[in-house]
Amino acid sequence: MKTVKSPFKFKGGVHPDYNKELARDMPIERLPLPGELVISMSQHLGAPAKCIVKAGDEVKRGQVIGEKNGFISVLVRASADGKVKAVEKRLGPAGSSADAVILETVPPEDNNPAPILPPLDWKTATREELLKRVEEAGICGMGGAGFPTSVKLNPPPGKRCEYLVLNGAECEPYLTADFRVMLERADRIRVGVEIMRKILGMCAVRIAIEDNKPEAITAMEKAFADIEGNVEIVRLPVLYPQGSEKHQIYATVGRIVPEPPALPIDVGCVVENVGTVAAIADAVEKGEPLLERVTTVSGDAVATPKNILAPSGTKYSDLVAFCGGEKEHPAKIISGGTMMGFAVSSLDIATTKTTSGLLLLSSRKVFQYGSQACINCGRCLRACPMNLNPAEISKAVEADDIKTAENAHVMTCIECGACSFGCPAYRTITQFCRRAKASIRARMAAERAAAAAAKAAEDAKKEAK
C-alpha cells in the first residue's frame, strides 16, 4: 500500500468556494427516530420500485416494502418499525413525483434487535452469496445517481474489472458526509473493499481522495496499512468535478470512458462511493440492509451544521430541527451540493438513499440573476471537463434547435455545472443542456415505443397469416 499523487489531470474544471469548514469537524450524530417517515419508491435513477404494502399495514424495520421493478432497480425496505399511514404520490428531491410510503413510526421494543439478514462471514462465503446479499440489502450508489451496486459488481460476461476505484473525492462544496465516513468508519471501508475484491476478483484498488482532506488520507493509510495486493491511495488535486466517475477514472488510472452508453466497466473500472463500500461491509458482516445514511446539513442559514446519520425517508424539516433550526430565513434550499444539487421549494421533502446533503443558504450566499445573451467569451469551453462546447449547445437550445445540440454531443454532458459557474453573462447553460437531454430522451423513448408497436403489429399480422 502506498500513497501517490494523482498521475493524470483532466482538462477543464473550476474552483468553487468549498465552505467545508462549516461541518467538517462535526462528528456523525444519529438522529432520534422521527415520528413520520416518507419512503419514496424512486430512490435513484432507473425504474422506481413496486410498492407492495398498503395503508394500515404494520411493517417491521428492514421489511421489504418495494420490490425490484426491472434490471436497473433496487428494492426498498422500511427504515423503521411502524404503521403505513398512506401510500401516495409525493414530490422527490429531484422535482418529480413518485409513490411514497408514509410511515408512522413506533420506537423499537428491543435496543439490540436480531440482525435483519443472517450475517455472513465474507472470508468463507461464495461470490454468489455476497452478490445476492448486496442486492437483498438494497444497496445503490450513495454518491449521487444511485446506480444499483449489485449491477455494478456483476460485470457482463467478457468484461473484467481491473481497477476498483473508491470515490472519496467529495468535490461538492459544503458536503462533508463522505469525509466523516472515511474518518469514523475507515475499518468498515477496509472490510467493504475486501468483500468487493472477492466479488469482482482480485483487482487493483485506487482510493481517490482530494488534497484538502489530509485527515481522511491519514485515516485510510492507517486502515489499509497491512492490506495485500495492489492498493494505492491517490491524492487528487482540489478541482471540481474531481468526484465525477469518468474524471476520477482518468485521474487515477488514466483511462477514458467513451461516450454513453459506454460504462466504466468497458474500460475495466468500477467506481464506488466510500459510503457505499461501508454499507456493503455492514450488509454482509452485520446483516444490516441500507436503511440509513450520513447526510450533511449545512449552509449559513442553519444554526449548527451537522453530519447526521438518519434513516432513509427522514423529512428535511426533521433534519433542520435537529440542527437547531434555521438561523435566518433561507433564500435557497438545495438537496445535495451547490454544484449538482437540486433546489427545492420546501422542507416537506424526504431523504432517499442518495441524499448526501441538505443546504440552507442565506440571501448573502445566493445570487439572483437573469440569463443574458452569450458574449462568446469561451469561458464555458475552458471550464467544461467533457470537452464540449457549452456555448454552442446553450445557444442552439435557446433557439429550440435540439438537433444541433445533439450533434454537439450534448448527451455526454454530465451536468456538473462548471459552465454555468463561470459564465459572466449568468447564462443557465447547464439547464439548457438538461433541457436538451430531456427532449432527446423523450424523443428516443417515443421512437422505441413506435418501433415496438410496429414490431407487435407485424407479429400480429404474421400470426394472422
Binding site: G95, S97, S345, Q368, Y369, Q431, F432, R434, A438
Partner: protein, 269 residues
C-alpha cells in the same frame, strides 16, 4: 443574323415538341379532386386532423382513408365544401377549442420559489416540480403559447388564456403542456371548471385561493347526480361536455370561485 434566328427558332421548336410529348406520355396522373379539396381546406397546416398538413389530409380524404370533418379549423363549412366535391356525407363535428383548466393567477395561487431559469414550462417543471405551490396548475411560462399556430394563447398574470375566437382546436398546446391541463372542449360550452388539482380541499386551499375542493355544490345546484352535468376525479369537479350544464347561476354559487361562464375565456378572474 438569319442563322441565329433559325437556330433559336429550331431549338425552340424541338424543345416544344419534346415538352409536348413529355406532357403526353410522362405525366403523373393525379386526381384533380386533391387540388380542389386542398383549395377549400383552411391551409393553416396546423396538423389538428392528425395528418402532416392540409395537403396530406386532402390526399387522405380523396383516397377515402380519412373521415370528412376531421378539420377542426375549417369546421362544418369546410366539411360541407369537401362533401360537395367528393360526394361523401360530412360527419357532423363540433368546433372544439382549447381550455386551460387553471385559474390560479399570481395573486391567487402561491408561488413557493423564485424561478429564474429558462422561460419554458417543461424545464421549470423539472426544477423542484415548478415554482407554483400547486403541482397541477399552470406555470405560466408559455410552452402552449409558443406552439400555438394562431397566437390564440397569451399569458396574463402567470396564467395561460386561450382566445376562443382565434383557437382552431388543433391540439398542439394540449401536447406541449407538461402539466396536462389543457383540454379540447366544445366551443358551444360556456360553463367551465378551471382547476386541475384532484387532491383534498384543505390541501388545495394551502396552495391556491381558487382551487376546486370537490364540494359537489356545482353538481347539486345543477340538478344533482342524476342530471349528469359533472363528473368527479378525486376531489376535482369536471364538466361533462357530452351533457354540459346550462344554468349559469351555478357559477356564482361555487365557493371555490373556480368556475367561469365566459364565451371567450379571456377575462377569467
Amino acid at each position: 443574323m438569319i442563322i441565329a434566328i433559325v437556330c433559336i427558332a429550331g431549338i425552340g421548336l424541338v424543345a416544344a415538341v419534346a415538352l409536348a410529348l413529355a406532357d403526353r406520355y410522362l405525366a403523373v396522373k393525379e386526381d384533380p379532386r386533391i387540388g380542389m379539396v386542398t383549395a377549400v381546406l383552411p391551409g393553416a397546416n396546423c396538423g389538428g386532423c392528425g395528418f402532416a398538413g392540409c395537403d396530406a389530409y386532402a390526399r387522405a380524404l380523396v383516397a377515402g382513408t380519412a373521415p370528412n370533418g376531421a378539420c377542426a379549423a375549417g369546421g362544418d363549412a369546410c366539411a360541407a365544401e369537401v362533401a360537395k366535391i367528393l360526394g361523401v356525407a360530412a360527419t357532423a363535428t363540433e368546433k372544439r377549442v382549447a381550455l386551460v383548466k387553471c385559474c390560479g393567477t399570481r395573486s391567487e395561487a402561491i408561488r413557493v420559489g423564485d424561478y429564474n431559469g429558462i422561460c419554458d414550462c417543461a424545464t421549470a417543471a423539472m426544477t423542484a416540480g415548478g415554482d407554483k405551490g400547486c403541482k397541477f396548475g399552470c406555470l405560466g411560462y408559455g410552452a402552449c403559447a409558443n406552439v400555438c399556430p394562431k397566437n390564440a394563447i397569451t399569458i396574463h398574470d402567470g396564467l395561460a388564456k386561450v382566445d376562443k375566437r382565434l383557437c382552431i382546436g388543433c391540439g398542439k398546446c394540449v401536447k406541449a403542456c407538461p402539466k396536462n391541463l389543457i383540454e379540447l372542449v366544445p366551443a358551444s360550452a360556456t360553463i367551465h371548471v378551471l382547476c386541475n388539482n384532484p387532491v383534498r380541499g384543505p390541501e388545495v386551499r394551502k396552495v391556491c385561493g381558487v382551487g376546486c375542493m370537490g364540494c359537489h355544490l356545482c353538481e347539486k345546484n345543477s340538478g344533482g347526480k342524476e342530471a349528469g352535468h359533472f363528473t368527479f376525479q378525486g376531489f376535482l369537479a369536471k364538466v361533462n361536455y357530452e351533457n354540459p350544464p346550462t344554468d349559469a347561476t351555478i357559477v356564482s354559487k361555487c365557493p371555490a370561485k373556480c368556475m367561469i361562464e365566459d364565451p371567450h375565456f379571456e377575462t377569467g378572474h
